[in-house]
């Protein structure tokens, strides 16, 4: 049985922890709102881009000279996995669910005899994947110093990916991130970005015949690399929102657990104090009776 003083110390320390988790929850909530706004603001651009590219690529479908970013290299031997995770932990299962998905995917590909290369974005994913896939990781990007995630950062990642692709370093690129569904639910997702895949447009919308300036091929060639950057940007923003959502609910749980713990500790503290008082009283009374 711990002594009264021990109990008192433990209550104080749990209270301090609770204060921290509570503060972290509030911070996460504020940041979540901002991240959500950013993700929403980016949506129109990505949607339009998708629409335009879908109609362009449909027109180019049978073309043997279609750009490689669209048609692929014709092989699927070397896979690049772009794993986007958070920079920090303390966010429940956020990082581990993305990492688990990426790892399963990588192991499956390796079992099929494919070559796997990994590009990690974010410190957490890099730390964990480095343990099991040391020789597969080819590059690592971190945004630790970045306060507000902008298109510039996504573009930086996209440039790395495109340079690798143009150098023939891989055939298929898949992006791993957590899709933001709600504050309590974030779904780890794998999305293939090279060769590009588009959600099909409704046929009546695709019926417009455009004039192209300069040529159709040139526009397509110009847009496809941009699309890679846009997809990555969207994934990063979703990831960011998911991270704060996960952190918020994790910290909310932690605060509640700390509260329960304090209640339990206080109860046994009071019981023990009462027991001691009773014991002292008995001693005094029995001492008085003996006289």
């Amino acid at each position: 049985m711990p002594s009264l003083k021990d109990l008192k110390n433990r209550i104080a320390s749990v209270k301090a922890t609770q204060k921290i988790t509570k503060a972290m929850k509030m911070v996460a909530a504020a940041k979540l709102r901002r991240a959500q706004e950013a993700a929403e603001a980016a949506r129109p651009y990505a949607e339009r881009m998708n629409k335009v590219l879908a109609s362009l690529s449909a027109a180019n479908a049978g073309n043997a000279n279609a750009p490689k970013l669209l048609a692929g290299t014709g092989k699927d031997q070397v896979h690049l996995l772009i794993v986007a995770t958070g920079e920090r932990g303390l966010a429940g299962g956020f990082n581990s669910s993305i990492i688990r998905l990426a790892r399963d995917h990588a192991l499956k590909l390796i079992a099929q005899g494919k070559t796997v290369k990994i590009l990690t974005v974010g410190r957490k994913g890099n730390d964990v994947l480095r343990r099991s896939f040391r020789e597969n990781i080819i590059d690592y990007v971190t945004f630790r110093e970045v306060k507000q995630l902008g298109f510039v950062q996504a573009d930086e990642v996209a440039q790395k990916v495109l340079t690798l692709f143009n150098a023939g370093e891989f055939d298929v690129a898949t992006l791993f991130f957590a899709r933001f569904q709600s504050v309590i639910s974030q779904v780890a997702t794998a999305q293939q970005i090279i060769p590009a895949k588009f959600e099909a447009v409704k046929s009546d919308e695709a019926q417009v015949f455009y004039e192209y300036e300069p040529s159709e091929e040139e526009i397509l060639e110009d847009l496809l690399p941009k699309n890679v950057a846009v997809q990555i940007f969207r994934a990063l923003l979703e990831n960011n929102a998911s991270f704060y959502g996960a952190q918020m609910s994790a910290m909310d749980n932690a605060t509640r657990n700390a509260g329960d713990m304090i209640n339990r500790l206080t109860l046994s503290y009071n019981r023990q104090r009462q027991a001691q008082i009773t014991k002292e009283l008995i001693e005094i009374i029995s001492g008085a009776e003996a006289l």
Binding site: A42, Y45, R48, L56, F151, Y210, E213, I219
Partner: protein, 135 residues
């Protein structure tokens, strides 16, 4: 009174404008073009330059865009800019920064084709810097 149509200016980070407008001048790749209502469907890439938007109320707003593309339909016009700002937020310093960045990129460019593209881009930026933006 000219008919109005929908105009949207979007950058990857946000939606800048979504308005009813009567006239838009955009810096298309092969020269500036003015878009009025019932324009034939055109898709074009953009050079860095100034987009001039005439609202249905007659007010004219100007925006600086840095590359991107335009999707023009008879009843709407959408600009997807890589980066866009209201004209009064662009200063010579920020422009100079972009010019320096473009120069650095030319240094690192591998293929000649890429280099030519970047040089064109740089030319447009310098033109903006020299003539269009007030000091």
């Amino acid at each position: 009174m000219a008919d109005a149509f929908n105009f949207e200016l979007v950058s990857p980070e946000r939606l800048l404008v979504s308005e009813k407008v009567t006239e838009v001048v955009i810096p298309a790749m092969l020269g500036d073009m003015t878009v009025l209502v019932k324009h034939a469907p055109v898709m074009t890439t953009l050079r860095p330059g100034i987009v001039s938007v005439k609202l249905a109320s007659g007010q004219v707003n100007k925006y600086v865009v840095f590359g991107g593309f335009a999707d023009i339909l008879p009843d709407s016009c959408t600009l997807l800019a890589e980066s866009a700002l209201p004209e009064n937020e662009v200063t010579r310093e920020t422009l100079q920064k972009r010019i320096d960045a473009a120069r650095a990129e030319i240094e690192n460019a591998q293929s000649d084709e890429h280099k030519t593209k970047l040089e064109l881009f740089l030319g447009e930026l310098t033109h903006l810097h020299g003539n269009v933006i007030p000091a």
